[in-house]
């Protein structure tokens, strides 16, 4: 096996085979589930799911309400129940069979005035359901074609000027995919970048540099470390994606947007492709940092300099949304550190031409090659400076150029 792969495997195994790795891996989603679960339980328990009655004195309602027959924690439906008159409705409220009732009197057809009788506030979702129920009934008496379309609104398809990109309302994924890939990229780079940083600094802290360098070349060592720690980050992400996927499968029926989610594989491929050189670029910068600082505490302080620009485009989300081809948006997508997230955001909100994609990919690849070269140089120059931080001049002095 190639020595770089041996280094990669060692780096990978020493993280992944540790109990604390899996504890950390499970703790993050479990923490989120716990927080979300608790807040959901608190919110759901606050919703009064008792039926709401209605009394139709104006004889407006001819279509029966559509009530969700399911029961359970995630059923938020408040059933609508018809009562023949107000006294029956009042009795139901008094007996706790209904939380309140609304009255459509004979003047409703002209004044559209509803009256709701209850001692409790009307839940927001119940109000929407009542509106929908009444709209459905009013439209039922209208003789027109495409009556359902009138109720649901129009459907829109968006096509880019050159016709290369088409999105319709059901393709939420076309917007979501680049954004999700960008978020995942930031997560991976934060995790594997910090592992990589730690791995390089540890070589200094453990004084293992000299032993390593007389066994493998600096390039093999750095390649192995980048690959191994990238693998650790990917394992974490894969685990979480599987977990999210499983959760989506389980709760698909509960969330309408999950039922319409249609993954755009082409967009996914393009988003991932653009991230690859960026990943190498940032990883190599982390490795450079690791080779120039003295210990892990110092490395954590300096890693913010690299991480901050990566996430800055998220703060300018509105700018990307309203002017994705503006100077700032374009500039950020060409600048090496902001490029991955900025490009993903532009891909979400506009159509990037093949030429521009190629330009960004090419630029990122160039930066990646440069940063790997810089990492090798920093490693060679800084590997034996155990208690001294290197500055830029040290990095480019003559000794650093040897290999």
């Amino acid at each position: 096996m190639n020595k770089a792969l041996k280094v990669a495997l060692h780096e990978y195994k020493r993280h992944v085979l540790r109990r604390r790795f899996w504890i950390a891996l499970l703790a993050f989603p479990l923490g989120i589930v716990l927080i979300m679960g608790l807040s959901t339980i608190l919110s759901v328990s606050a919703i009064d799911k008792n039926p709401i009655g209605f009394v139709d004195q104006g004889k407006v309602l001819t279509v029966a309400p559509k009530n969700d027959e399911r029961k359970g924690l995630f059923v938020f439906d408040v059933p609508l129940v018809s009562y023949p008159d107000e006294s029956a409705a009042r009795q139901a409220v008094a007996e706790g069979k209904a939380q309140g009732y609304f009255l459509l009197d004979e003047a409703f057809r002209t004044d559209h005035q509803l009256t709701y009788y209850s001692d409790k506030p009307l839940p927001v979702d119940a109000r929407k359901k009542i509106d929908g129920f009444i709209r459905q009934n009013l439209l039922a008496t209208v003789q027109a074609e495409n009556i359902a379309r009138l109720d649901e609104g129009s459907k829109m398809e968006m096509i880019s000027m050159d016709g290369s990109r088409t999105i319709d309302d059901s393709e939420v994924a076309s917007f979501v995919v680049p954004l999700v890939v960008a978020v995942i990229f930031v997560f991976i780079i934060l995790m594997s970048g910090s592992y990589l940083l730690q791995a390089v600094v540890e070589e200094k802290e453990n004084r293992t540099m000299e032993v390593m360098i007389t066994s493998v070349s600096p390039n093999q060592l750095m390649t192995g470390k980048i690959l191994g720690n990238m693998g650790v980050g990917l394992t974490q992400m894969l685990f979480w994606i599987v977990l999210i996927g499983a959760a989506m499968m389980i709760f698909k029926d509960r969330f309408a947007f999950l039922q319409n989610l249609d993954l755009s594989w082409g967009m996914l491929a393009k988003s991932v492709l653009i991230m690859l050189p960026s990943f190498v670029f940032v990883s190599a910068l982390m490795a450079t940092l690791g080779a120039t600082v003295t210990d892990s505490q110092e490395s954590q302080q300096f890693s913010g300099i690299i991480i901050m620009p990566i996430i800055i485009p998220f703060y300018f989300m509105a700018l990307f949304m309203f002017n994705p081809n503006g100077v700032i948006a374009k500039g950020l997508s060409y600048f090496p550190l902001t490029s991955p997230v900025a490009t993903a955001l532009r891909m979400a909100f506009t159509n990037l031409s093949a030429g521009e994609m190629a330009l960004i990919f090419g630029l990122q690849t160039l930066f990646a090659v440069f940063s790997v070269w810089l990492a090798g140089k920093a490693f060679k120059a800084g590997m034996l400076q155990y208690s001294k931080r290197m500055n830029l001049r040290d990095l480019f002095r003559k000794e650093a150029q040897h290999g």
């Binding site: 020595k3 041996k6 280094v7 060692h10 020493r14 540890e202 453990n206 004084r207 293992t208 540099m209 000299e210 032993v211 390593m212 360098i213 007389t214 066994s215 493998v216 070349s217 034996l384 155990y386 000794e399 040897h402």
Partner: protein, 301 residues
């Protein structure tokens, strides 16, 4: 053919001249001492031999040519800055380092248990490296240096953290390597170990070679007409040609006047009827030579 040839090496770091002009050869089947005071340029020289640093000028050949990635598998190195991965078990750490020296899993499984046993580390093999004492960590690092059966072994202060029992163990191992015709370069300050182990040596001071050659040959170079005697009884008072007499515990050092030979002193003692337990020419120890050379009192010609 020499295993290592170093010719007129020079290396500077900024204004510091670490190595000014160093040349020597190391042959297969010998233990070679690389000696010098702190900051003399020993470690820089070793790092240049191992291609960690490039020399400003001069030539280095190791195993018949310049250093290559392939040759790294034929070299075992115990650096001055000891270092093992602290957070993993000893066995895992040694397996990893052995793999990086080109050994496959089968070869590691065959050799490692024997070496752990030899260095008395078998019971500690599952412990994390950081749980071992300094001496045990050094023994573990020696295993990493030797497990791939290198042709050239370069060790920096191999006895630094070892007790007498383990010092003897390492000495035996180094002698066994010499017997297998391996090349051993040993950098140390412990001159008694050099006297006992090394066949040849080089002494570097301020980046320059001060002494170079066979250990016994160098010691003989500094032999004077002084003698060490151990007598049964008092030293006769009427010895002629003696400039100074020093009591050195079990022996007495006689420092003769110039031109007086040791045989003359022996003849006088015998003529006086002294009962002689031992009589020997006072060959200077390497410690003495080291101090005299470093203080600038003598220089190799």
């Amino acid at each position: 053919m020499p295993s290592i040839t170093v010719e007129h090496l020079k290396k500077t770091f900024g204004a510091t001249k670490a190595v000014q002009d160093v040349s020597f050869e190391v042959r297969p089947g010998e233990i070679f001492g690389l000696l010098g005071p702190n900051g003399s340029g020993k470690t820089t020289t070793i790092r240049m031999i191992l291609d960690i640093y490039k020399p400003d000028s001069g030539e280095i050949a190791i195993l018949d040519g310049p250093m290559t990635e392939e040759k790294k598998n034929r070299i075992g190195y115990l650096p001055e800055e000891r270092g093992l991965y602290q957070d993993i078990p000893v066995e895992t750490c040694l397996e990893y380092l052995a793999e990086l020296k080109g050994l496959d899993k089968a070869a590691i499984a065959e050799r490692l248990p024997g070496l752990l046993e030899e260095f008395d580390l078998t019971v500690h093999r599952k412990k994390k490296v950081k749980e071992l004492s300094k001496g045990m960590q050094q023994k573990a690092q020696l295993i990493a240096t030797l497990i791939h059966e290198p042709d050239v072994i370069i060790i920096d202060e191999p006895f630094a953290a070892l007790d007498p029992v383990n010092t003897q163990l390492v000495k035996d191992i180094l002698m066994a390597q010499r017997a297998k015709n391996k090349t051993v370069v040993m950098s140390t300050h412990q001159m008694n170990q050099v006297e006992q182990l090394c066949d040849r040596m080089v002494l570097i001071n301020k980046g320059e070679v001060m002494l170079y050659g066979g250990v016994n040959e160098i010691r003989n170079r500094y032999v004077t007409n002084e003698v060490l005697v151990n007598l049964d009884g008092e030293l006769p008072q009427n010895l002629n040609g003696i400039r100074e007499i020093r009591d050195e515990g079990t022996v007495t050092r006689l420092i003769p006047e110039e031109g007086v030979e040791s045989q003359d002193i022996l003849a006088q003692l015998m003529a006086n009827g002294s009962k002689i337990n031992s009589f020997e020419k006072a060959v200077p120890s390497l410690d003495e030579i080291f101090i005299r050379v470093v203080k600038g009192e003598v220089h190799d010609e």
